[in-house]
């Protein structure tokens, strides 16, 4: 059951990324290019994606305690409130890479279906970055003075 749901969710995700144009790097860079030829498409993608998700969260809240995930288990805990150094430093690094190549993790994976070596190179270095991320996390934690 878990696996079938993962396949359906992944399929919907991939279809959405493809149809919305998020696999097109010029579209992403066009959205970020506020001082150039700005392309607002990504705002429509974000807005469209947030709608069904907001409904899902609302359903879970409305049926708090009575609703369980279809395949069993529990729903995610409420989001942590604290904004820490990791969140800010990590997001800035991510934004830097996103702007440079116009790819983020989901579309980079979906782009594999089109062939081309560029997506493979990007993904290879992304995996390398993910592998060394725990070291940067530790360093950021150590940089915070103990109180």
């Amino acid at each position: 059951m878990h696996r079938l749901i993962a396949l359906v969710a992944g399929g919907l995700f991939g279809t959405g990324l493809y149809l919305s144009g998020l696999t097109d790097t010029t579209k992403v860079q066009g959205w970020l290019d506020v001082f150039g030829d700005w392309d607002p498409t990504l705002a429509f993608v974000m807005g469209g994606a947030i709608l069904p998700m907001a409904l899902a969260w609302a359903l879970i809240r409305a049926r708090a305690g009575r609703l369980r995930p279809l395949a069993g288990g529990t729903f995610p805990a409420p989001p942590r409130p604290e904004v820490d150094r990791r969140l800010v430093v990590g997001s800035v690094l991510f934004g830097l890479g996103w702007g440079l190549a116009g790819l983020c993790p989901g579309p980079a994976v979906a782009s594999l279906s089109f062939g081309g070596w560029q997506g493979v190179v990007f993904l290879g270095f992304m995996v390398l970055g993910m592998a060394i991320a725990p070291r940067l996390r530790d360093r950021l934690d150590r940089a915070v003075p103990a109180d």
């Binding site: 969710a9 959405g16 919305s20 430093v89 934004g95 190549a101 994976v109 979906a110």
Partner: protein, 141 residues
């Protein structure tokens, strides 16, 4: 309204529906960087099969739709150092921040998570400044 905006909205709703299916079905937040990252650092070993099947869905559906939709362009740069630096930053950043566009942006904002909103503001700001610097000032992308 431009047709690319309409396709953006349609694609966006499908992305969000995928996230809703994953949440209501498996009780998990659909974050692409978390799903891949858990396979890379071994933290998601217990759910490795589910993660791989999700990623297979992401690759297979566009492949099936290619003949009907067409235009399979990523238009990604062929500049090797740009791809390498970008990939490294994205991999490092998403794991340190514990999320990317799908996790923080789509799943986080929709539940009004402060962390999701702050992360999204910072990565869009950083991405915008990057394009200004590397496109309009340095002229390399």
């Amino acid at each position: 309204m431009e047709s690319s905006w309409i396709m953006g909205l349609v694609g966006g709703v499908l992305i969000g529906t995928g996230g809703a299916v994953y949440l209501l079905g498996n009780g998990r937040i659909m974050g692409a960087s978390g799903i891949i990252g858990g396979l890379v650092d071994g933290s998601g070993r217990d759910t490795a099969a589910e993660r791989l099947i999700f990623l297979a869905g992401v690759v297979l559906m566009p492949l099936l739709l290619l003949p009907f939709v067409g235009d399979p362009q990523t238009r990604a740069t062929s500049e090797l150092w740009v791809l390498a630096a970008a990939g490294l930053c994205v991999g490092l950043g998403t794991r340190v921040a514990n999320g990317c566009t799908s996790g923080h942006g789509v799943c986080g904002i929709s539940r009004l998570s402060l962390r999701g909103i702050v992360a999204t503001l910072f990565y869009i700001l950083a991405g915008g400044l990057t394009v200004v610097l590397f496109r309009h000032i340095l002229g390399v992308i």
